[in-house]
Amino acid sequence: MAEVQLVDVEKRYGSFLAVPKQSLTIEEGEFLVLLGPSGCGKTTTMRMIAGLEDITAGDLMIAGERANDKPPKDRDIAMVFQNYGLYPHMTVAENIGYPLKLRGMDRKTREARVQETAEKVELQALLKRRPSELSGGQRQRVALARAIVRTPKIFLMDEPLSNLDAKLRVTMRAELKHLHHELGVTTVYVTHDQMEAMTLASRVAIMREGRIVQLDTPKKIYSEPADLFVAGFIGSPSMNLVEGRITGGRFEAPGVSLPVAGADRGDVVLGIRPEDLQLTDPGAAPISGKLYALELTGDSTLVTLRNGRTSVCTRGPADFEAPIDAPCTLAPKPGARIHLFDKQTGQRLDA
C-alpha cells in the first residue's frame, strides 16, 4: 500500500505534448479511475507511474519517495496492460505464476496460488493452453490474473475489462471491487467506460487532451460536473444541454423557460439530466416541443422532443406512446438539479 503523487509531471514525445504539466495525488488505499476518451493520455499517465515511460519533467513520488529513476521491477507494482503483454511461449499457468516465480516462491505454493487466482477469473480449464490458443477476452483475463496473483503496493489496470462480454464484465467488476475492499491496495484504473468508473472508483479523474479536468468522487462528478465536457461525458443518456440566455431570473431558449438563479447574461448553456425531467400535461409547462423520437429501453422509454435548436430527452414510462411530431411538454421534477455553464469557456457557473 502506498500513496502515489505526481508533482508537476509532464510528458512529451519529441515535440508532441501528450500530458501537460499537472499534479495528482492518489491516496493510500484509494481506487482512482482515470476516465476519458481514447487518446487523452490515460495510458501514458499510467506508464509513467509504472516506470515504462520516462517522465519529461516533474516528480513522481511513491510512498513519499522520489521514484522517477527507479526501475519498474523495484516499484512493487502489478499492472494489467491494455494489450495484455502476455508471454506467448508460456502456458496460462506459467504466465500467471511468473511474478511469483520471480520472487522465489516455491513451486507448490505457487501452483496453489495460480489455481486460486485462475478460479477468480474463471480460467481453471485453460491453464495448460498458450496465449495464442485463447480468445481476446480470455487473454485479458490471463493478464488480469497475472496482476492479482500477488499483493503489490500499487495496482495499475489499463482497461482491464474492455474485451470481456457484458455479463463477464459485470462479474469481474464485482470481483475487482471485492478484491480492492479485501486488500486495500492503492489502485489506478483506466477506462473509457463511465459505468465502470462510477461503480468502481473512490475518485474519478476525468481527462481530456492530457489534462485532468475534474477530480472528484463519482457522486460529485455526476451531480456537479465542472464543465460542459464532463457534463456531456458522464451519464447515460447524457445530460441535456440547451443554449440560451438568462433574463430576469429566467433561462430562455426556444421552447424553454425556466426560473434559474443567476445574473442576466447571454451565451449560457443550461444542463439538466434526463432523470431530472418528467412528462407533464400541456399547459404552462416550462419545456415544450414536438416529439422527435421514442426509444424503448426495456424498463422505460426515452422520449426526445425538439423545438428549434433545442433538443431535450427524458425517461418516460415503458408504455408511453404518442405519434411523432405530437406536441409534448416536460417539467423538472421537484428537487431537480439545474446546471449552468458558460458557453464560451465551458466552465460551470455557480450561483
Partner: protein
C-alpha cells in the same frame, strides 16, 4: 487446371534453371563414387565404389585433419559470435542511445570491405604474432567477418518481437538480464538458431583467408580441395569425394533452417 502455353514455358524454364544449377553438384556426387578411369566419362554406367573416400582420409591426403579443423573453426566461431551478436542485436533493437543508427551503420559497413583488401594486413599481423597456420587465427578472422552479419540478422528477429511482453516482465519484477533470459531468448530462439546456422555455413565455406593464413596444420576443407590439383594432374574423383564431405553438412543444415524458418515466422507474439 488448364495447362496453358504459359504453364509449359514456366515449367520448361524451371527445369532448365534447375539443370544448370544442379548439374555440377550431381556431377560431383557421381564422380565421388567413380573409379579414376571412369572419372572423365559422363556415362552413368559405372560400378560405384567407396574407395575414393578411403583414399582421401588416408595418407598423404588426411582429409580427417581438415574436417576436424573446419569443424573446430566453424563451431568455435559460432559459439563466440552468436551470443555476442545476440546481446549486441538486443541493445541495438531496444536501447535508444544517441548515435545508435550511426554505430549500427558502422558495424554493417565492415561488410562492404572486399576481403582481398584486408587479407594481406591480416597475414602480416598474424605473422608478427606468430599465429600463422593456427586455428586461432582463422577463428579471429572469421569472427570479424561473421559477427556484423549475425548482429544484423538477429536484430531483425528481435525487432519483430513486440516490447509488451518485456515490459510486463519488468513490471512483474524481472531485471533486464532476467527479461532477456526468460522472455527474449525463448521468443527469439528460432531466429537465433537460423542465424547460428547461417554463421556456421559462412565460416565453413570461407576460402580466401584460410588459403592465405594456413599452410599445413590448420588447413580447412575448402583449402584442402586445392591440394588435389597435383603435378600428376587434377584428381577429380578425390576432389569430388572431398567436395561431398564439404557439401553434405551444409545440405543438412539448410534443411534444418528451412524447417525452423517457417516455425520462427509462425511462433509470433501475441496481441
Amino acid at each position: 487446371m488448364r495447362k496453358t502455353v504459359f504453364w509449359w514455358v514456366e515449367r520448361g524454364l524451371l527445369l532448365l534453371i534447375s539443370t544448370i544449377v544442379l548439374f555440377p553438384i550431381a556431377w560431383m556426387f557421381l564422380t565421388a563414387f567413380k573409379r579414376p578411369r571412369d572419372a572423365y566419362s559422363l556415362s552413368l554406367d559405372f560400378s560405384p565404389t567407396l574407395s575414393n573416400f578411403v583414399t582421401v582420409f588416408s595418407d598423404p591426403w588426411n582429409l580427417g585433419d581438415m574436417v576436424l579443423n573446419s569443424v573446430i573453426v566453424a563451431s568455435v566461431t559460432v559459439l563466440i559470435a552468436v551470443p555476442c551478436a545476440a546481446l549486441a542485436a538486443y541493445s541495438f533493437s531496444r536501447f535508444r542511445v544517441r548515435g545508435r543508427k550511426f554505430l549500427f551503420f558502422l558495424i554493417l559497413s565492415t561488410q562492404f570491405i572486399p576481403a582481398v583488401v584486408i587479407v594481406l594486413p591480416f597475414f602480416l599481423m598474424f605473422r608478427s604474432l606468430g599465429l600463422l597456420d593456427t586455428r586461432l587465427a582463422l577463428i579471429v578472422v572469421n569472427l570479424a567477418i561473421v559477427t556484423p552479419f549475425v548482429i544484423w540478422m538477429i536484430k531483425g528477429f528481435i525487432d519483430a518481437i513486440p516490447t509488451d511482453s518485456e515490459e510486463a516482465a519488468m513490471i512483474d519484477g524481472a531485471s533486464r538480464l532476467r527479461v532477456i533470459k526468460d522472455i527474449v531468448l525463448p521468443m527469439a530462439a528460432p531466429g537465433i538458431l537460423t542465424s547460428s546456422i547461417f554463421c556456421f555455413i559462412l565460416t565453413w565455406n570461407e576460402f580466401l583467408f584460410a588459403l592465405i593464413l594456413t599452410r599445413r596444420d590448420a588447413v580447412t576443407l575448402p583449402v584442402g580441395l586445392v591440394s588435389f590439383r597435383t603435378e600428376r594432374g587434377d584428381l577429380w574423383e578425390l576432389m569430388s569425394a572431398a567436395g561431398v564431405m564439404i557439401t553434405v553438412p551444409i545440405f543438412i543444415m539448410a534443411l534444418l533452417i528451412q524447417k525452423h524458418f517457417t516455425r520462427g515466422m509462425t511462433a509470433g507474439a501475441v496481441k
